[in-house]
Symmetry: D2
Subunit: 315 residues, 4 copies
């Protein structure tokens, strides 16, 4: 990769950009523009395009490029952009990643292989093959609830030391492992930047040494995470905790849906809240994912209202 | 789909065709031709292209089409061909499936979504969306060890009754569930053809009511499975069991590798045995999958030799 | 152990005896006597006391001894009795097992340790410690859905060859592994007797080489399993399958309960059916386990009626 | 329970007392006395007897009472004592718990049922049955890696509001869930005391709102955890983090063993370190659990030495 690209860093608040859709299931570029503008205006330090919150697995490569192109255009270089290339294995990830890099991604993030049955050594070669085939920094995404395997600490730090990966987005649900990863990364000279995806414990993970957070809820309100992160950076842990607890009361919207799938629930709640706040025009979900019913949407609006998050003036 | 295509059936022995590779990782069409000819010569009743044994997850769509094209050409219409379209979600599966149908696949088989977190209702819509978008019969592939969720009996039979799916390849590792699926399918008027992927219990699964088997080991020797299946169809269960037990002694090759991944082990053992028997020219694995060491290959040859399967005259 | 005890064998139909309870939760000895008499009258070849179907985990050692004492007294030596000693670890299993042997158990069956985190070597030592401390044959019970680990084939056959265990009750849900265990046991000179707990595939498992079955449904009707097993022993696989399919239609009672726990569902359905058939006086469940509602009981009676299993004249 | 007993609280540093054994496997009371004296001298605020670190699952009730009796005697009322009653189900837990209360336990902690297959409603009744049968406060222990199910937030807070349980020891490995439990407990008026078992993230969990920690490593050195906890209570998060990071470097001893079971590894490392520091006379493990080899013990001593923890003057 080029010297320029290798110097791209992702620290602080890096929201996973949600994907606004029109009722017919196509991309709602108007809402997407509004969303990206809003995220940047609220002070995020980078954008994570095409992640799980962005429903990327439900989109074709053409759609992914279409999405990323708008995000890159609206961003206009203001913050760095990392894009998810979520595919089965290295050959397919490389195909997707190259298209995303061509469309403006400054870094690529991907997981261990899906569907296949691999050893740690094979997973390492998987990341090596991808890194060798793209000319921007590669990040590893550790999300066992979706990938059904965990990336080991030794594996990650070794790949970092080799220059294969530049950072990790940790959604492993394993704070003990994350703390040990931080220590191992420190001991190795900090080759990796370490972002947590656990948006309800950002204060605690910052205390533990995280370099940033990828909060899905920032699609609903990013300013709180920016304040929270700033508090951690100046060592005001009481303020950080207070802000985190305020956010968490609003984050309860994701527990409003009952009996639906994980994807319908989490992203569904975000989209309902974004719609309620006027950030997107429709709460349409990716095709085959169920929509929230009216009662659930009402409950979500109620939670937002209790937290003083309705109404909001939108840009 | 057309009336012609909907009448394609897959019963009996339907081997998942392995993917011979040259040392540089590209497709070895010469060996693939030899393999397909041999499978048909040994009496298989259909071909399952691009399944797990075929390492399909490691190949791009271009490579998959390249593989399928050779299989279709060599087969020349002698047996029906079903092809795997293994991708993350419906939109991507449809893209792949359409290319495979254009290349000659007479049916498509796929799994529940990967990576995503879906409910049973969403999985049903996933299969409905795919079936509506392709004009050949769709089959469901139930392989929890790779997909990390199980397709329910009610779901499968309902999709069968709707005409969405025409059959199931069951690699669920759950014989109790499979027996109940057979009973539920019978009660519904048999909308589904039910193939087992459990190649060491074909006699038992045939007794239980399976319509056929997808045996990876048939890439090493198909004739035994054909004899076994024929014995079950004429009710000669003692002969079926004897043949199964003979096969199982040879199947022990897959337990020869130690300490390797699931993919390196199973497909690796098959390829080593195919190479030892002269069926393929190289035992090369898909990129990033580790190769067997020399001692393991020796042990595999020894097992084959003990079973009288070396040397063999190849076509 | 004594020469006499080591010669006890368990093959054919060995039902896990259910535990009839009075409405106050104490043991219903009158119903238990009726149940045991009936099982023997219908031709079972042994009794499995204090297994999962017997809700043994919910009873104290005093209650277990009380239960076993009645079973032993009613049996009066007509068939051999094996008893479950289900406890956390070897020291506690030995305490329980000794009391059960004193009460008349002719063999003991137990699982890998519970709650603890052990290696295969430690599990082997666990069985060795227990076998060394009791003077009747020890059996291993493989039930991963409850123990959350699987007993390996090598481990079981090695313990068999050492004389530590005399047999295995397999409720592993893994027919492929069971088939391989049969082959490995054959190759080792058959040190183990191998019983399947998968009561809906007894025909298939007998074809595969099982030595017997432990069917919970035999508490509702044992005669069918005796006929089924006899058919397998004389090689009449068509008759075996027909009987199995008849049983399976009645076994559907265990799928009648909705939304309840595994224990409430399986044992609850058996007890409801036993009560409907007049075999036990109350369908009371062990304390803390929920009871079936009236609609579910009605549905169970309907299934039994459709299968001609109501009414029944009881002894 | 009595008014006195219900007022017992467990906050701050509550170490799970390890079980020193003589080479013949019997309890080493001399070492146990030394250990308890040392823990109290280093400032712990309570003792957690008979937990996983105490290898309680490997001991009979007689041994458990023997252990607890010594702990109670040495403690002589200086700090409150909570004891684990780890058994299969409520009836057996009640038997054990009553003996432990008679021996001086001021509170009892237990898990969801083991081996059985229960619903959340049944688990709630399980805790209710136990609480009703003992006259000291009951605590819930959430340790999915051993129990193979997770205690839900709603369940715990409801049982707290009912007065059934007084606190939770969380070893769930799920920091997100723990943070939500803290919030839900706060919203309910704080019926529960919430201890974390994740001893490498105590600073972070204290920031999140934990009431205390149960650190197994305190058996090796408790003073660090006392300093750490005190720092959190006065809001000195930088000091807390520094102390946590120091502890974590020493805690690396638990990653020294390779290829052993979970129980052999964790408790084995603690015992080796305790022995190296002169706290216990023998590193003997519970019967059937494997011992560390000499190289591993050397590596553990080396880690302790690097952290300035060898030698130590023992009382």
């Amino acid at each position: 990769m080029t010297a320029a690209s290798s110097s791209v860093t992702f620290t602080g608040v890096i929201p996973p950009v949600a994907t606004p859709l029109l009722p017919d299931g196509t991309i709602d570029h108007v809402s997407l523009e509004r969303l990206v503008e809003r995220l940047i205006a609220e002070g995020v330090s980078g954008l994570f395009a095409l992640g799980s919150t962005g429903e990327t697995a439900y989109f074709t490569d053409d759609q992914r490029v279409e999405l990323l192109t708008t995000i890159v255009r609206v961003n206009a270089g203001r913050v760095p952009i990392i894009a998810g290339a979520i595919e089965l294995t290295a050959p397919r990830i490389i195909e997707t990643a190259r298209r995303l890099v061509a469309a403006g991604a400054q870094a690529i993030v991907t997981t261990a292989p899906l569907y296949t049955l691999n050893s740690a050594a094979e997973v390492a070669d998987h990341f090596r093959a991808i890194a060798a085939a793209i000319d921007v920094p590669l990040w590893a995404y550790d999300v066992p609830v979706r990938v059904h395997s965990k990336l080991g600490i030794d594996l990650l730090v070794r790949l970092g030391a080799e220059g294969v990966i530049h950072g990790v987005k940790d959604s492993s649900g394993d704070d003990v492992s994350f703390r040990r990863l931080i220590a191992a990364n420190d001991a190795a000279g900090r080759p990796l930047q370490l972002l947590t995806g656990h948006e309800v414990v950002v204060d605690a993970m910052a205390l533990a040494g995280a370099d940033g957070v990828v909060p899905g809820f920032a699609n609903v309100e990013a300013a709180g995470y920016v304040r929270l992160w700033d508090a951690t950076q100046r060592g005001d842990w009481t303020e950080a905790r207070t802000e985190q607890e305020r956010i968490n009361r609003a984050f309860d919207i994701v527990f409003a849906p009952q009996g639906l799938s994980g994807d319908a629930t989490g992203v569904g709640a975000f989209k309902a809240a974004m719609h309620a706040r006027g950030i997107i025009d429709h709460a349409t979900m990716a095709d085959t994912v169920q929509s929230l019913d009216a009662d659930t949407v009402t409950r979500i609006r109620q939670i937002l209202s209790e937290q003083g998050m309705l109404p909001v003036a939108v840009s």
